[in-house]
């Protein structure tokens, strides 16, 4: 299979993730859609690494995984804190930055 096919899959997954971030209102699902976008970028990085025949793209994909894990940890911590304070878990209603 040509490298272009992998890039097509990556682009489609990225667009689905972006649409999900814009349309969904639950912060948990928004985090999941962010994961989708990061994974699409990972797929493109690995495809380009295969295209050039060097592992640098794979190293970068692993670093992206680390950053995604950090983002998930902090995001889920925030959601748990929001839930503890009896605030609605909905990004439309969480529109004020006051505790």
């Amino acid at each position: 299979m040509g490298i272009g096919w992998y890039l097509v899959v990556s682009a489609m997954v990225f667009c689905i993730g972006a649409g999900g971030v814009l349309t969904r209102r639950n912060p948990l699902v928004i985090l999941l859609c962010l994961e989708l976008m990061l994974n699409a970028a990972n797929l493109a990085l690995v495809a380009f690494s295969r295209m050039w025949g060097g592992e640098d793209g794979q190293v970068f994909a692993l670093i992206v995984m680390v950053v995604a894990a950090c983002e998930v940890t902090v995001g889920l911590g925030l959601i748990v804190a929001i839930h503890r304070r009896r605030l609605p878990v909905n990004v439309d209603e969480l529109n004020e930055l006051q505790g």
């Binding site: 096919w5 295969r50 995604a68 902090v74």
Partner: protein, 216 residues
């Protein structure tokens, strides 16, 4: 054979992504994302990135998704609320998919008009050991040592930050206040409370609250 595998994995990955976005229950969204990640790991294997595929399955589909499932179970993964508090949310629901479609068109134009010759080819000739843990580890410890160390520091900061954020703060939530009310409720004397045992409660004050903040 590899074409068949590619199409199966690609269709699985895209179906999983659509499932994440469209399913109403967040729990099913998480499960769809697990399927998507496993299909993506298969695509990584087809691209000869064995270590990245293994890390994807172990770290992502294993650890991170378990975290998601726990949080969904804690929050109570009910249906998404349909009541829109903010104005303009309905408009965003229409404009959002349009924006995603525009992004897809733009990416397709960028890919079709790309001057990269290698996109249509099968990639560089395969050499033995490409993408193996040995190669990745060598790169991490020589060429990319600084990003490697920065990543470990980032993980530490994220772990400490998550603990600080999700920590139970005293006196701010409902259950703690209820517990305090229960502790301060008046009890009859000589019923064996801890404050009586410590000798700090007065025996005569039968109706006085026992074990208040002064006693503890």
């Amino acid at each position: 054979m590899s074409a068949v595998l590619f199409f199966v994995a690609a269709i699985g990955a895209i179906t999983g992504a659509i499932g994440v976005v469209t399913l109403r229950n967040p729990f099913y969204s998480v499960l769809a994302l697990v399927g998507h990640l496993i299909c993506l790991a298969a695509l990584f294997l087809l691209l000869r990135a064995e270590f990245v595929a293994a890390a994807q399955v172990v770290v992502y589909a294993g650890a991170v998704m378990v975290l998601y499932v726990f949080v969904v179970a804690y929050i109570g993964g009910g249906e998404e609320t349909t009541g829109f508090a903010a104005r303009g949310a309905g408009a965003l629901r229409v404009v959002g998919p349009l924006f995603a479609l525009a992004l897809a068109v733009e990416l397709c134009i960028a890919m079709l008009g790309s001057a990269l010759k290698g996109i249509s080819g099968k990639g560089a000739p395969y050499v033995a050991g490409f993408g193996s843990p040995r190669q990745i580890g060598q790169l991490f410890l020589t060429k990319y040592l600084f990003p490697f160390e920065v990543a470990s520091l980032l993980l530490l900061v994220a772990a400490v930050g998550a603990v600080l954020l999700a920590r139970r703060q005293r006196g701010l939530e409902g259950p703690d206040q209820q517990l305090e009310v229960m502790i301060r409720a008046p009890r009859p004397a000589y019923t064996g409370t801890m404050a009586e045992a410590a000798g700090s409660a007065r025996a005569a004050g039968a109706t006085e609250p026992v074990g208040g903040p002064g006693a503890t």
